[in-house]
């Protein structure tokens, strides 16, 4: 019996190639799109899965409350890891790790910056890093040792047989290579090419020894039997047991959640990237449903062609169940053919998609999970797509269909078909509106006035003796004619790293801690960045003359709340240190580009500066200017490669997730509308065919081609119109909610809806009009005779 079904299905497909193509191509596009999304989702869900101890690994998080609001940080005290291992039961292992350091490694005349971390050697066993050469137990036996990735070993030595060889770091120390580890996969939270003993970093940063100073990350491995609640209960007051003044409340946070649940609001876990994983999974299914709807609509629309077959089979003894299984079987054949085509589409589209999402996803059909997933998608699509047509076709009355009578258009079938078109177009319109609003929001943020001029501004890490030779470098740079000004700072302006709650001023509630960002800068900083002074003055060029003076931002000034703040005092460390406010600058945006500026103090202090900021003159040829800057820097520090970053480029990179969402929603809306239009094209063709006689008669009676094309298009356009009415409120609600997550956001304007609706109508009209005009220009004599 199944052989007979297969034959009928294939011969039907062969005979109706356009129909077959529309169905298979539409469904294949949907399956391919869903497959790409699911590959992305799989990559996100399996983040850090390559670490065998993933279920027992945690990072220590740090909740600090300022002025009633709790902020969650990853920074912990340097003394925490060894102490908590010995004092808190259930902790099997701990390791400290720096934020990530970019160091210059040199071998002969080869000098390359490489990203890595200073870590405790326990991390090797905690992450179960695979040593290709050397071993974990004695990798850090000597102080200046380094474990490098295979990639880095190949880059410097062209081999992994490098134990005992040395690499010069930052043109200062020779580090001995004591291990080569297998490169980590892309989807892990750790991105390093080298690991060096934490002791080196600790010796250089003695402030780490204080319990009140948070500056590194602490990782924890627990015993399988550990009571996590007990560990967290102990950690809650742990810092206070060492330093009663400290504001930190610690807790451990599982590796399983690092990637997708890393958002905290007021100290409480509040989702994270998981919302995009969920959103895209839903979109994948929606696109599959749109593709399945095509199948249903085309199958029921062309039911007349199958009616006689249904009649004959019924007369021959086929029951309704048998016919339903036949038609569902046909849908399954179609969906499996589509799945095969989808594999080809995915293989073709994957490199582009990888570029879009910045991942290295692979189709990898040897992975049983991928095969099973594809099979499941194809099967589910077949069942969904086949169920309604099967139900509809198998319910034909053989008496009617065998008489050769036209099946009266079943009112409910027509209603369902129209309803399904409305569903398809509503989804497409929602996606179009969503895409427009996402792009508008991204552009809104990108166009935001930051409070300084981000164009023509470059920053670079200070290397070698650049800090000591700053004045001479500055003069040389300015005398190139391309540079307007140069300044130093602890951090680069988009990401200011230090903050503290121990400042006070007259009138401040002593029980309230207010978190204030602190930034050490050279006197040229404000003018180099192009920030505006609101009151008072800039720092003196002679930094010593301002040794106890500070400049605050407007936001802090508002917080202090007094007028004429210039000349007032701010104290620190219980009043031991006093600073005079000499200037107030306009707020500028840093760290969180969506929020307003947080309170900030600029210190004229270059003790811990790491960055050189260079402002180019307006309308300077940047390529020429950079060459001149390189020349100056190379003259002063010939041992370092010239590396720099433009602030505006780094600024745009901050919106990686939003830009990705924008691009993906663009792709998904385009696909949704294309798939919907494939269906509409098929439906329009069948409608034109059904109404051939009517068109012929109307034409004979004098209807023009335009009037006929309009007549045929009208019904479909009505459906798209209804779709707009359905889509607009849903889209408004969804996008309104999405925008609420951004403090700095656009208002949704009515034209977004108008434009999306018009776009959908235009695309639909384009699709239908081909069939409508074709039917309208046909010779009426022919169409009437054919009746």
């Amino acid at each position: 019996m199944f052989k007979n079904y297969f034959k009928t299905a294939f011969r039907n497909l062969w005979k109706n190639k356009t129909y077959g193509f529309l169905n298979i191509f539409g469904l294949a596009t949907g399956i391919a799109c869903a497959a790409l999304i699911f590959l992305w989702v799989e990559d996100e869900l399996t983040f850090n899965d390559s670490f065998p101890k993933k279920d027992y690994l945690y990072s220590v998080k740090n909740n600090q409350t300022y002025d009633g609001t709790t902020y969650t940080f990853d920074a912990t005290p340097g003394v925490l890891a060894p102490t908590m291992k010995s004092e808190i039961p259930g902790i099997k292992n701990t390791a400290r790790c720096t934020w990530g350091n970019k160091l210059l490694f040199s071998l002969g005349d080869k000098s390359i910056y490489e990203q890595g971390n200073y870590v405790d050697s326990n991390l090797f066993s905690m992450l179960q890093l695979h040593f290709i050469k050397g071993n974990a137990s004695d990798a850090f036996a000597q102080l200046h040792s380094v474990v490098i990735s295979k990639k880095m070993a190949d880059k410097f030595f062209g081999s992994t047989d490098v134990i005992g060889k040395t690499l010069k770091v930052n043109n200062e120390h020779e580090y001995v290579v004591t291990g080569v580890i297998k490169d980590l996969p892309e989807n892990v939270s750790f991105k390093f090419d080298w690991l060096a003993p934490f002791k080196i970093y600790e010796d250089q940063n003695t402030w780490l020894q204080k319990w009140g100073n948070n500056g590194i990350v602490t990782y924890v491995e627990v015993q399988p039997s550990t009571n996590l609640e007990a560990v967290n209960a102990r950690l809650h007051g742990y810092i206070q047991s060492k330093d009663a003044e400290a504001n930190s409340r610690l807790f451990i946070f599982p590796m399983r959640k690092w990637r997708l649940y890393n958002n905290f609001v007021n100290g409480i876990e509040d989702g994270g990237r998981i919302k995009y994983v969920n959103l895209f999974s839903i979109i994948a299914w929606i696109i599959l449903i749109i593709a399945c709807i095509n199948f249903m609509n085309l199958a029921t629309a062309r039911s007349e062609k199958r009616a006689r077959e249904v009649g004959v089979r019924k007369v021959m003894g086929a029951g309704k169940g048998m016919l339903m299984s036949q038609f569902i079987g046909e849908a399954l054949i179609m969906s499996f053919l589509s799945a095969l085509l989808a594999i080809a589409i995915v293989a073709f589209a994957l490199p582009g998609f990888n570029g879009l999402v910045d991942k290295e996803l692979s189709l990898n059909l040897q992975n049983p999970l991928h095969l099973a997933g594809l099979f499941a998608i194809a099967f589910i699509c077949g069942i969904i797509a086949g169920s309604y047509p099967a139900f509809y076709l198998s319910s034909f009355n053989p008496v009617v269909v065998l008489k050769g009578l036209k099946i009266k258009t079943n009112a409910s079938a027509g209603f369902i078909r129209k309803g399904l078109v409305v569903v398809q177009f509503s989804i497409s319109i929602i996606l179009i509106i969503g895409t427009i609003i996402i792009y508008k929001q991204i552009n809104h943020i990108k166009d935001r006035q930051l409070g300084y001029d981000k164009e023509g501004l470059v920053y670079m890490n200070l290397q070698g003796k650049m800090k000591e030779h700053f004045n001479s470098i500055k003069n040389d740079l300015i005398s190139t004619g391309a540079v307007q000004n140069v300044g130093l700072s602890n951090d680069y302006v988009l990401q200011l790293g230090s903050n503290t709650g121990d400042f006070a001023w007259q009138g401040k509630d002593p029980n309230k801690q207010i978190l204030i960002t602190v930034e050490g800068v050279s006197p040229e900083y404000i003018s180099t960045l192009g920030m505006k002074l609101k009151a008072g003055r800039d720092f003196y060029a002679d930094i010593a003359a301002d040794s106890n003076n500070i400049i605050i931002n407007e936001s802090l000034a508002k917080l202090i709340g007094k007028k004429d703040l210039v000349g007032s005092l701010i104290t620190r460390d219980g009043g031991n240190q006093k600073y005079t406010i000499v200037g107030i600058i306009d707020d500028f945006v840093y760290n969180d580009m969506y929020s307003s500026s947080a309170p900030l103090i600029l210190f004229p202090d270059t003790a811990n500066v790491n960055f050189l900021n260079i402002r180019f003159k307006a309308k300077t040829d940047l390529a020429g200017a950079l060459a001149k800057v390189e020349n100056v820097i190379k003259t002063h520090e010939p041992g370092y490669p010239f590396e720099y970053k433009f602030v505006d480029e780094q600024f745009h990179k901050l919106f990686k997730t939003e830009t990705l969402i924008g691009k993906l929603s663009w792709v998904f809306s385009a696909l949704a509308i294309i798939i919907s239009c494939l269906g509409l094209f098929g439906l329009a063709a069948y409608t034109a065919e059904r109404r051939t006689k009517e068109i012929g008669i109307r034409k004979v009676l004098g209807a023009t081609t335009g009037a006929l094309a309009g007549l045929l298009s009208k019904d479909f356009l009505q459906l798209v119109g209804i779709s707009c009415l359905v889509a607009f409120p849903v889209a408004w609600w969804a996008m309104h909610n999405w925008l609420q997550t951004y403090p700095y956001r656009i208002e949704i304007s009515w034209w977004t809806f108008g434009l999306s609706g018009l776009l959908a109508i235009f695309i639909a009209l384009l699709t239908i009009s081909f069939q409508a005009v074709k039917a309208a220009v046909a010779n009426p004599v022919k169409s009437l005779r054919s009746e």
Partner: protein, 225 residues
């Protein structure tokens, strides 16, 4: 074999009520060849659909081989139909996507007969109908007469007790029509009961008895000599 009594079938739309069968009563004995005649709209086709268990009456009794089937549900009707009744239609109603062999094979598939036996039975009937040489052709590749012979082959392949023919020669020229009538006569002589609806007096003469209908009722019955 067939005994119907006071059979009623009424078609209703919102405005109109059409009586298709009006307390119709008659009988067909096993081995009979009965022709049903009458003007368009007299209820012939409705009668044939009910006899073929494709449709159910609104009222009255229908005994098929002594079993009351008037109130059978669709599943039971389908079961009885596929084992006992063969159909021949005016417009042949062959499935375009299936070959001659596959079309004839169809009733046997639904009866659950295994492939080797199906092949043997289909080939036997195609041979008998003299269309064996066309077994791998599709319906569109055959003449009308050949198509109707395939339809007859399909109707008899499961050895039904009853064949219902709805104007079997309506779409054929006289020569092909005569051939089909000869086939039906032959089947009847071998014991198959036949009820045939026709407009053709010529075809009706092949039967044993002609029932003439008007407005859903029998008006006369002629026994053929």
């Amino acid at each position: 074999m067939i005994r119907i009594k006071n059979l009623e079938k009424i078609y209703r739309t919102e405005d109109v009520e059409t009586v298709a069968l009006n307390k119709l009563t008659f009988e067909v004995k096993e081995g009979e060849f009965v022709a049903v005649m009458g003007p368009s709209g007299c209820g012939k086709s409705t009668l044939l659909n009910i006899l073929g268990l494709l449709d159910d009456p609104d009222d009255g009794s229908f005994l098929f081989n002594g079993i009351e089937v008037a109130k059978f549900n669709e599943r039971k009707r389908a079961e009885l139909r596929k084992r006992n009744i063969g159909f021949v239609f005016q417009s042949f109603n062959l499935i375009d996507e299936l070959t001659v062999f596959e079309n004839v094979e169809l009733p046997l598939i639904y009866l659950g007969i295994k492939a080797p036996e199906r092949k043997q039975r289909v080939e036997a009937v195609l041979d008998k109908m003299q269309i064996m040489h066309r077994r791998n052709h599709y319906p569109q590749q055959l003449s009308g007469g050949q198509q109707q012979r395939v339809a007859v082959a399909r109707a008899v392949v499961n050895n039904p007790k009853l064949i219902l023919a709805d104007e079997p020669t309506g779409n054929l020229d006289s020569s092909n029509g005569n051939e089909v009538m000869a086939l039906l006569t032959d089947l009847n002589e071998q014991g198959t009961t036949i009820v045939m609806v026709t407009h053709s007096e010529h075809d009706a003469r092949y039967s044993h008895r002609i029932i003439r209908m008007l407005d859903g009722q029998t008006v006369t019955e002629n026994i053929m000599v």
